[in-house]
Symmetry: C2
Subunit: 411 residues, 2 copies
């Protein structure tokens, strides 16, 4: 039986037991922009996180990883405007932020997750954060506007806030998952950072929660590429309050676990697509599905190689059905396949067109191809015809605007 | 004793025993642009080649690889304007080209190397090539103009022909190495292809020649990245005529081998830099040296990760000393290092500036940094302070022009 998963409003405050807020603390110069977000659960939550694999990781990544080691947390605080990375006193400041917030909320320091996004290498004005904690906590609330304030406060060059929530059935009761995230961007040209904060009222044990998050992140966030630069600050964290009242999911298996994982997957796919389509300078969302490959890992590598190729990205920006670039990107993905079996198609809401069959050129209606590729959501379909595994990756085109955003001098 | 290596004119015809030509055959529409090049040796030469690692490789790559398997060749024919890749009859056409040329020159088909660069997936108009062979062979000549014609004929979106030659001493006699190459480009937006054709009059056995080429290519061509897209058509080939009269180099060791290898390295570094600085849309040549790392392989990965980063490339385009992006790129290079030991410097002809010491920010004179980074040749110096190995990689900035060249619709 397929569980139905319904989109609902409310973002991170949609699940029972969570409040959120987002304020302007003064980290940003522009007083109209929020720069500090808080998500707090009414109770200590099962929690899990996944972090950047970059060897140069920001102080808050190190602090949050250690705070989540026991599988529990209760609050997430995140600032934008400063990455707190490559700074000599970054750990002390991230730790201080957790300590002051914990004291204010009456919880343990180790139950606070801290995150930052912004310029690397600038000292974090931690006093600004500390001094704003009373106001930030004072504004904690349930409801659409509270999640919205938090989603806004973590934005950098994102052009829109990203919030998602869904409702699904878990062991006969209604449960919810909510999320906010940000993609690539900065107020001053700097690192792209991907942050995702997820809440749920499902009751689930930490190790099952971690298993679900991990398996879902591999198929969603890890299949997004804007520019190939893995940030120093990436972080995805989930808190589970248990307020839905379902029989707790004790292990990463069984019907309830699968229902939870399916809902989490849906939310994370939505976040991945929102991040890709709002990539720096993006005019188009690209979705590449590699089908009928020997195994899933290889299919993922092929799909990601296509999505990352600068030549594919610029061709999509120019609405050019230059499929030779797709073949080339498949060819250097580092996995075995038979180019002479590959079929390639482009699709969008106005139609679809085959451009390559069995690895060779076929006659293409260039007018139709141009029409299809002029849409803002392009599907690239790669059929390897050698197995039954498939994978999907998301990205965006490479435009003049990407160069402008990242080439402009910091000022 | 350091052998002196002197730059000389003449390109591929500088070494004794080689003639070259380049003509307009009709593959390109523009009659003012040459599109077919030929390099012929007076005798059968020791020969070696290195080819793209892309699983989707063009027909001429497959044909040339098999023709070079015995370690000998006498002629190289190369067309621009069509890649002869992803075409059903590509092999037959590449083979036919070799057969007709060999017949005309009175040599064996297996001693012909064939190369192509241009649009992928379009049928090769092989008759145009075949019909032009008499004229192409008729124009074979020694001297600067002949090499220049060949260097021009292999260009695609390259903005200038690339030719190099040097003279050095080998076992008491003068020997020469000459070369032409092309970088990323196209007449119709398509694959970047890197082609390098090298001649030498040094006497050297095929297996020693191959060893020298391989070791040098790993440190030069393989350390260049324009946009991360490994072409279907990349090829570097060297022919050694033996006309210098040196005692033949029989093995990849000893003083003569090292003298030859040093001269070949110099030529290949010149080609690598010329290709990087003429990368599509490039306004600046970037040279990143990673020093004092544990081992050379790791240093190479770190240097290449910096050179490939879109965020580093756009920062350099904008003359922005945004060193956090360098740290980030080092961090995801996939090798171990201690970020808290890293020192970073930018250099150019107007001066140098330290921007990061022991992994942390230091005070930077932003005016001076901007002046340094506004030059057209930028050195990025990374000191890992953990060993004594070093490596250098070359690339270019990422500009609006790159997007324009590759985003424009093929027409």
């Amino acid at each position: 039986m397929e569980t139905s998963i319904i989109d609902i409003p409310g973002g991170v405050t949609a699940p029972a037991g969570f409040r959120a807020s987002g304020i302007h603390s003064g980290l940003r110069k522009n007083k109209l922009r929020r720069d500090l977000a808080l998500i707090v659960a009414d109770c200590r939550c099962a929690a899990a996180g996944m972090f950047t694999t970059n060897k140069v990781f920001a102080a808050p990544v190190g602090v949050s990883r250690s705070h989540l080691a026991d599988g529990y947390a209760q609050a997430i605080i995140c600032n934008s405007g400063n990455a707190n990375a490559c700074t000599a006193d970054g750990y002390e400041k991230a730790d201080l932020t957790c300590r002051v917030l914990a004291q204010h909320l009456g919880i343990k320091k180790e139950d606070v997750v801290v995150a930052s996004t912004g310029v690397i290498g600038l000292p974090l004005p931690v006093e600004t954060i500390i001094n704003s904690i009373p106001e930030l906590a004072g504004q904690l609330a349930c409801g659409v506007m509270a999640s919205h304030a938090a989603a806004n406060a973590i934005m950098t060059t994102d052009t829109k806030p990203k919030e998602f929530a869904c409702e699904f059935t878990l062991g006969g009761v209604k449960a919810r998952i909510g999320a906010i995230c940000k993609g690539s961007g900065m107020i001053e040209p700097n690192m792209a950072t991907m942050l995702g904060f997820i809440t749920t009222d499902a009751a689930i044990e930490p190790h099952a929660l971690r298993a679900a998050l991990q398996s879902v992140v591999f198929d969603t966030f890890n299949m997004v590429s804007i520019d190939g630069d893995t940030s120093t600050n990436d972080m995805v964290v989930i808190l589970a309050s248990g307020k839905a009242g379902n029989k707790p999911i004790a292990a990463p298996e069984g019907e309830d676990y699968e229902a939870f994982r399916a809902a989490l997957l849906k939310i994370c796919i939505s976040m991945a697509k929102a991040i890709a389509s709002d990539g720096e300078g993006a005019t188009k969302l690209l979705e590449c599905t590699v089908r009928n490959y020997y195994n899933k890992e290889g299919a993922k590598k092929l799909a990601k190689s296509v999505i990352k190729s600068s030549l594919v990205k610029t061709a999509m920006f120019g609405a050019d059905a230059n499929w030779g670039r797709l073949m080339c990107a498949l060819g250097y993905a580092g996995v075995e396949f038979d180019p002479s079996k590959v079929d390639l198609k482009f699709k969008s809401k106005v139609g679809e067109i085959s451009v390559c069959r069995n690895g060779c050129a076929i006659e293409v209606d260039e007018e139709l191809a141009k029409e299809i590729l002029s849409c803002d959501y392009i599907y690239i379909d790669v059929d390897c015809k050698c197995g039954d595994a498939s994978a999907t990756a998301w990205g965006c085109d490479l435009s003049y605007e990407y160069v402008r955003i990242n080439g402009d001098y910091r000022s």
